[in-house]
Amino acid sequence: MNTPLRTTNRRRLLASAWLSFVLLLALLAAWLPLPYAPATTDLAHVAEPPLQTAAAYPHHWLGTDPFGRDLLANLIFGARTALLVSVPAALFSTGLGLMLGSFAGFWGDTNLRVALGYWLASGSALLAAFLSFAGFWSTTAFLLLSGFTLVIVLATPRLRLLRHLAAFPADRLVMSAVALLESIPRLVLVLVMAAVQEASVFNLLLVLSFTYWTGPARLIRADLQRVKHLPYIEAARAAGLSDFSVLLRHALPNASRGVRTAFPLSIAALIGLETTLSFLGIGLPAETASWGRLMATVRLEPAAWWLIAEPGLLLLGTMLALRQLAGTRPTTV
């Protein structure tokens, strides 16, 4: 059963409209004329159901949580937190995955052959960079290392010993890093890493990016392994293009389609992770508004259905819209 094109378009339009609505709310959160700030506690109106216009003025349109905080403000600022964490984390992790995955997929284990001399040179340059970056600055060591690098670089074309080519096991390196990260369930890994960090938006972002890049990396690697044997790549090589421009101009635009469609999905997954972590009370500082934290307050007031329903519906709508954008519909062929 194929869905007609018009329905698909209408669904996509709806999804984009919803997402831009959430995005606008998140962007303008600080300037919207909200009656209450998200952290303000109105102790006279605790756990109030939505649309109780008689009770308080200004009204709590969407009700309050057990601490008397306005739900409307918390939902809007929660949207801001969710997007502020998930979108940059998705960008970072996809970028990182794209880099490492194309490195592994395009060159494989044998194709990146570098002269021994350049190996040594890059090794000592890296060491020098690491030492100065880590703050262990010492002028003698730095001068020695950079001098060594320079000498090796100049000597490599002339000495036969240094010209000997050695293959760089790009694929094996990247894939073992992927295997290492994926050997723990992601939630447990993120939980542990977020718990040992100080709670802040930036740290959470780092933790999410460094645990999430494996998915895009695997995707791009698999696609590149398929694409790099196609005749047009061979033609590009035969035309004399360098490895790098073949990869960048010809192979990647074709191979990155999977990653591009998966991008909204990774945003959705990261929003899910963020809300889950906030629900558990880990990762974000306690005063940051978040959908997950809001839902956690239902434990204090089991009768307050709106504490689950409102953030839950927002979450459901956002996730469905993101999936719709990615183009993964239930496959009812």
Binding site: L180, P185, L187
Partner: protein
């Protein structure tokens, strides 16, 4: 076959070592002031008399020594000296926390919990006693249900569309939302109070063992249901896709042509091949469910592995955290190897090529 498995198992060791080392170093480089203050507060009865700073320092040192935090973390440490030119590398020898942890681990000692000073192995065993029935039952149910539903869907096209759409929307929600909705709609005195909301109940006090099992299972219904609901969409989507693909193939047409009933074609011909791509999903289920158990156990207040990890992470109880991560990593890696050997067993094509 055996040799293959052995090689796979040997290959696991560096991965497990890497993961645990990273967790170790990450957790130990953090300030431990909060932890120390907590332990000190329990130990010193501050209310009865005032303690001098010197006494406090001595007590702190004693606690550090007892927890093994007074030793250096790794084999070497780098200190930035302000006077001399370069960094100071200091070789700490074998008297360091990292070395000691591994030495104890190889002797089978996992250390003691920082919080209540009970042996970590015992803490883990108690947690596993709660988590294993939960996750095993959930995994078995999920596998059974997904197989049954996928087979059912081959014969009911209309039900299939509906089911896939429903599962698709279910799949978008994080586990904690599903569990919360279940909890507050089915175990809530203000809504429907069909099921108990937390814990295991007092099944030890039951008169006979069938009754005890009954109480136990009754308390597990909602946790298992939420775990099954969250794993079902992925399993069914994969299984259904591969079944549909198999049903297009020539051998299925042949089977139909020779007059077999559709049910038999699906059951005996298509399903066996359709299971191939799903094997990894099945073997990954148990470790994945342990991660899911983190949330379910927090929501339904079950004293299991997931909750233990979450609590240990929140209170920086490193020995428990590390042992837990080690255990989960080992199970996950083991299940990967089992998947690989299963592939070898069930697919002769792979066997002949390897």
């Amino acid at each position: 076959m055996l040799r293959f498995l052995l090689i796979r198992l040997l290959r696991l060791i560096p991965t497990a070592w890497g993961i645990v080392s990273v967790v170790f170093i990450l957790s130990r480089t953090l300030p431990t002031d909060q932890l120390l203050a907590q332990v000190l507060g329990e130990q010193l009865d501050v209310g009865s008399r005032t303690i001098t700073p010197a006494e406090r320092q001595a007590a702190e040192q004693a606690v550090r020594h007892r927890l093994g935090l007074d030793e250096p973390i790794f084999y070497f440490s780098i200190q930035r000296a302000s006077t001399s030119v370069g960094p100071q590398w200091h070789w700490n020898g074998l008297q360091n926390q990292y070395h000691r942890w591994w030495r104890d681990l190889l002797r089978g000692e996992l250390g003691r919990s920082y919080r209540d000073n009970s042996p970590v192995a015992q803490v883990l065993a108690e947690a596993l006693r709660c988590t294993l029935p939960l996750t095993l039952l959930a995994a078995a149910l999920a596998v059974g249900l997904s197989l049954w539903l996928a087979l059912w869907m081959t014969q009911h096209p209309r039900g299939r569309t509906f089911l896939l759409t429903a599962l698709y929307s279910l799949d978008t929600l994080p586990l904690f939302v599903v569990a919360l909705v279940l909890l507050y709609s089915l175990a809530n005195p203000d809504a429907l109070a069909l099921f108990p909301a937390y814990g295991f109940g007092s099944y030890e006090l039951a008169d006979s063992w069938p009754e005890a099992v009954g109480i136990y299972l009754y308390h597990l219904v909602l946790p298992i249901l939420s775990l099954v609901l969250i794993t079902l969409p992925g399993l069914i989507a994969q299984l259904d896709a591969s079944l549909q693909q198999e049903l297009q193939t020539a051998y299925v047409i042949t089977a139909k042509a020779k007059g077999l009933a559709f049910w038999q074609v699906v059951r005996h011909h298509a399903l066996r091949n359709a299971l191939l791509p799903v094997v990894t999903l099945f073997t990954d289920l148990l470790p994945a469910l342990v991660a899911g158990a983190v949330i379910v156990e927090v929501i339904f207040a079950l004293p299991g592995m997931g909750r233990l990890l979450a609590d240990a992470a929140a209170t920086r109880d490193y020995p428990v955290l590390q042992a837990g991560v080690l255990l989960i990593t080992l199970v996950r890696l083991l299940s990967h190897s089992i998947a690989d050997s299963l592939y070898l067993r069930i697919d002769p094509r792979i066997r002949s090529s390897s």
